[in-house]
Amino acid sequence: MREKQDRAAGAPVPRAATGPAGPATLPLAFLHELVIVARYSLIQQQRTPTWIFNTSLTPFFLMAPLLFMATSFLGPGGAALERFTLLTGYENYLGYMVVPLLDATMTSTVYSNIGHTIRQEQRTGTLERTLMTLQFPISLILGRSLGFLVFVFWFAGTALLLVWLVFGLRLDVDPISAAVLLLLHLLLVYGVAFLMTSLFLWITDAFAVQMLFSRFVLLTLAGATYPVSLLPDWLQVVARLIPFTWLYELERAALLQAAPLAAIWQGLLVLAAMVAVLWLAAVTLFNAMLTRARRTGMLGMY
């Protein structure tokens, strides 16, 4: 009866209740667990109805001060705009900033949300039990990511709408390049979220590390609002090791200059390789952190 109620509520069902999965049913069991966790996270999210304001307005609030700065200093048709176009190759300075800023705020929101809900479970003492009852502990993070996908699309849609309404954003999109980049983009965002969330199993104040990554790596080093060519040579090398630097440049080309796949395939290959390495690192780190947390009993202790 209780199991039935749990299933109806979308709560994770204990392994004993579902029975051990055989090798043939493993992918199905994993998928089933992912959907359960995703549903559970959506039910949790419904308890805070203010998400609609938060998700709709936050990206605009984060981007607008930097866009105001660009409008203040560049302005339409000013001498600085000519210089900016020479420097970046883009006359559309709003698009130049909006595309990466949206990427950065979205990435930051995804891992902040997933990380904070995991931390909340740790605080309230349910994380250890939840992880112990899941057949695939990794599905706790992946399932939450899946559930949060709804908010990601809402987040990006409302941000673009607001920027278009307020600033008159113009885009010139190549649909195929954009579709390929969207897929790589989501894989990158969730790979980073996965990696970052694993930190919560290890570091008590991991949110500080996440915050540092959001603002310093995503915004500053990756060149979200300026060309990385402005950085000193040694720092440009560091910037090129960050997948977001490539993502920003490729998305600018695909969304602002309608660059076809043939024009950006080399960059796409580099980005795809970086995403693959990131996921490998994330899975390895998560398993290592989980084993460590179980061995030391840190999972249930806050």
């Binding site: 936050t58 609030f61 540092l212 915004l219």
Partner: protein, 296 residues
């Protein structure tokens, strides 16, 4: 009519109460510091975040100003670097200049206590409640002061800040900073009241924190931004505070002449503090009556 002895006794009582109040503030502040020291990553970020947060602002402004192209002083009255730096420094006094440390402050310190279930007990201790609240924010007030001082020194020595350093400008800018800190404490108490009532950090960020940043004019020229933000920014007292700080060191203001900026800042600083104390007191009475403070 009170006798001289009664009057002296009343005065002694007042001194004793003031001493108790300060001791409570110091005790809570010390406890807050100990809590912060137990979070090494956050502490490191608290101490460096203002400098790290300055980097994206400066690089964006650098690119947006045509990568070093000399900017016209027609609107801002100063060069772009000084304009950005002074805006950033004034905003640091509110604790929100650095995007890196946006989830800290008095409101969040009290909110954490609410989640952990210790807030009600702390506020029911036989000590002035206001002292407990102020003590909770003391760490952040000291931290923001540290940010302002270090940013000013770094800007003056390494970034070529173009300001007029005379005893008069130093005194005036210090007075502006004191008023900004008074307003900052008032805003912190209001944020705490909103957060403890609605128990929703995202709502507090959307209603208080984000609009403050958006409409401050800390990094941009308010006359150059689109409507309705231009008009809304002119209704934001923080915009006048930042303008006054810039004006006190460079002589150039954007919104109104310096004396008017100072008048608006003085009124809004005192008004914010008084309003926040009144609001918190009323809400506290309600929380204690309904028992909602301990409920999360």
């Amino acid at each position: 009519m009170l006798s001289a002895t009664d009057s002296r006794a009343a005065q002694e009582r007042r001194w004793a109460q003031a001493g108790d109040f300060l001791r409570t503030v110091a005790t809570v502040a010390r406890r807050e510091l100990l809590v912060e020291l137990r979070q090494p990553n956050k502490l490191a970020l608290d101490l460096t975040g203002h400098v790290l947060g300055l980097a994206p602002v400066l690089l964006t402004a650098w690119a947006a100003s045509g990568a070093g192209l000399p900017q016209s002083a027609a609107v801002s009255g100063t060069d772009w670097l000084t304009f950005i730096l002074l805006g950033y420094i004034a905003f640091a006094a509110y604790g929100v200049a650095s995007p890196v440390i946006s989830f800290t402050g008095m409101a969040f310190a009290l909110h954490d206590e609410q989640i952990q279930g210790t807030l009600e007990r702390s506020l029911l201790a036989p000590a002035p409640r206001l002292a407990v609240v102020l003590g909770s924010g003391a760490y952040y007030t000291a931290l923001y002061l540290f940010h302002v001082v270090t940013l000013l020194l770094a800007s003056a020595f390494f970034l070529g800040l173009q300001v007029v350093w005379t005893p008069g400008t130093v005194l005036l800018s210090s007075a502006v900073l004191v008023l900004i800190f008074v307003m900052s404490v008032g805003l912190g108490i209001i944020s705490a009241a909103v957060l403890l009532t609605w128990k929703d950090t995202s709502l507090m960020m959307i209603l208080v924190h984000r609009p403050m940043l958006l409409l401050s004019g800390a990094y941009f020229l308010i006359p150059a931004i689109p409507e309705p933000f231009r008009t809304l920014a002119r209704l934001n007292p923080i915009a006048y505070a930042i303008d006054a700080f810039r004006g006190s060191l460079t002589g150039a203001t954007i919104l109104t002449p310096l004396p008017i900026d100072l008048g608006v800042l003085l009124l809004s600083a005192i008004g914010t503090l008084v309003a926040s104390l009144y609001l918190f007191d009323r809400l506290m009475a309600r929380w204690l009556r309904t028992g909602s403070l301990g409920l999360y």
